[in-house]
């Protein structure tokens, strides 16, 4: 199928992109990696008047160390995130989750920023950003602002990115030495997450010292499982303790009921998978 007609601009700087966004009006859309957007355009589920392609802005790509954080340009492709040594060393959970996104071809084109800005609750990376307390840098006509992940996700497909603004960078606090695991459950290998659990755990002397747990597809946005985190801290890293803590996972969730799974099954899965994710993380 063929998309509706649109105009296309390819700015070469963030400033140009913001200008283009302003000029494009309500119907302008940002094109990042395009791996969600282009199929949507093909099905004519969206008919923007103009696409603003961020692919020509080098400053939006790349991964760097920034003090106690790893800063990742919004247009950095999944493939590059997965293979980056800084990410592997300091934010391994992100690499683990990114590796499960879609398939090899999509991971070559799709971008971290695109995925987070798309804010599909079944997308895999929101839960990671949330669990690891990432900060999202958003640029607009009046300069840039930084939004914590906890305030970034607003609703289905809705984020704190305002009109005329662009997500430029995602900063992850280093979690060097933490154990981590992304436990994804889906109907077929290629399918979106039915439920997935992002877990990063720091163990000291056999006891869980710190825990970060994020949930994919358990509500209208990614969700932080604070109940589980609190229940884990101070517990021994044993199967029984972890499973008991995992029972808190449904607190504050509103799991969807759909053709893939009704809410009660998702809630049950979340408990089982949280136990598995945490145990795998503590290794």
């Amino acid at each position: 199928m063929i998309p509706s007609k649109f105009d296309y601009v390819k700015p070469s700087s963030v400033a140009e992109a913001i200008t283009a966004l302003r000029d494009g009006g309500d119907d302008a859309k940002i094109l990042a990696g395009g791996q969600s957007l282009i199929p949507v355009l093909r099905l004519r589920l969206a008919t923007p008047s103009v696409l603003i392609d961020l692919g020509g802005i080098p400053e939006l790509r790349g991964i760097r160390e920034d003090g106690d954080r790893i800063a990742i340009g919004a247009m950095t492709a999944y493939y590059d995130v997965i293979r980056d040594d800084l990410v592997k060393q300091h934010v391994r959970l992100l690499a683990q989750a990114t590796e499960t996104v879609a398939d090899g071809q999509v991971r070559h084109r799709g971008t971290l920023g695109g995925s987070l800005a798309h804010a599909d609750p079944a997308g895999d990376l929101g839960a990671v950003a949330l669990a690891l307390d990432a900060e999202l840098v958003i640029a607009g006509a009046d300069g840039t602002r930084t939004v914590p992940a906890s305030e970034f996700f607003v609703d289905y497909f809705t984020t704190a990115i305002g009109e005329g603004e662009i997500l430029t960078e995602i900063r992850f606090p280093k979690h060097t030495g933490w154990g981590s695991h992304y436990e994804k459950f889906n109907r077929t290998a290629q399918a979106w997450s039915m439920v997935a659990i992002a877990a990063a755990i720091r163990v000291e002397g056999g006891t869980i010292a710190e825990a970060r747990v994020g949930l994919t597809n358990m509500g209208t946005t990614p969700i932080r499982a604070t109940g589980v985190e609190q229940a884990l801290v101070g517990q021994p890293a044993t199967a029984d303790a972890v499973r008991a803590a995992a029972d808190h996972v449904t607190e504050g969730t509103s799991a969807p009921s759909d053709a893939d799974a009704a809410a009660d099954y998702r809630e049950h899965l979340a408990k089982v998978l949280t136990g598995r994710a945490v145990l795998a993380a503590v290794g």
Partner: protein, 172 residues
């Protein structure tokens, strides 16, 4: 209309395209590269897989304008001097295709996979081609072909680096 200048299978082309033109339609309808096929509209099937600057992509999920200045390799550009690519050979030898419709995409993705992982085990091959659907083979002989090609390519064979030759065809 937007301008696109792109090297496809070693030939440089310059064309005006509608921004909404998908790369796969540009390849098929403008350049006559009908070896690259379209099997779905949601980027699930992978039949349209080509290499863009050396990486596999689904050409139904890339706009033609986005490849301005880039290098694209299709199934029609991987044989060298009349000699098939080892992955092509292996697909034939291992009976890794039946109707042939998924085959171009499957081969292009397999070449990419072997570039990243020259000696994949069965599970790694299966996961490496999870974005390519086949309805005929049950995948078993495809997996076998990829592993067989890996064996053949072991002494450091270069899969897919191609330098552009002179301007021709629908070029400027």
């Amino acid at each position: 209309m937007a301008q696109v200048r792109v090297t496809v299978d070693g030939v440089v082309y310059a064309d005006d395209v509608e921004p909404r033109t998908l790369l796969v339609h540009y390849l098929r309808e403008r350049l006559g590269k009908t070896g690259t096929l379209v099997g779905c509209d949601t980027s699930n099937c992978g039949a349209c897989t080509v290499h863009l600057n050396g990486q596999s992509v689904k050409s139904c999920s890339v706009l033609a304008v986005q490849v301005d200045g880039a290098e694209v390799t299709t199934i029609e550009g991987i044989a060298r001097d009349g000699k098939l690519h080892p992955v092509q050979e292996a697909f034939n030898e291992c009976h890794a295709l039946q109707c042939g419709y998924c085959t171009p995409g499957m081969i292009m993705q397999s070449i990419d996979l072997l570039g990243d992982n020259p000696d994949p085990n069965e599970q790694e091959v299966r996961e490496g081609i999870e974005g390519n659907l086949c309805r005929c083979t049950g995948y078993q002989n495809i997996v076998r072909a990829v592993q067989s090609a890996a064996e053949k390519m072991k002494p450091g064979a270069q899969a897919d680096v191609q330098s552009p030759v002179s301007v021709a065809g629908g070029g400027d």
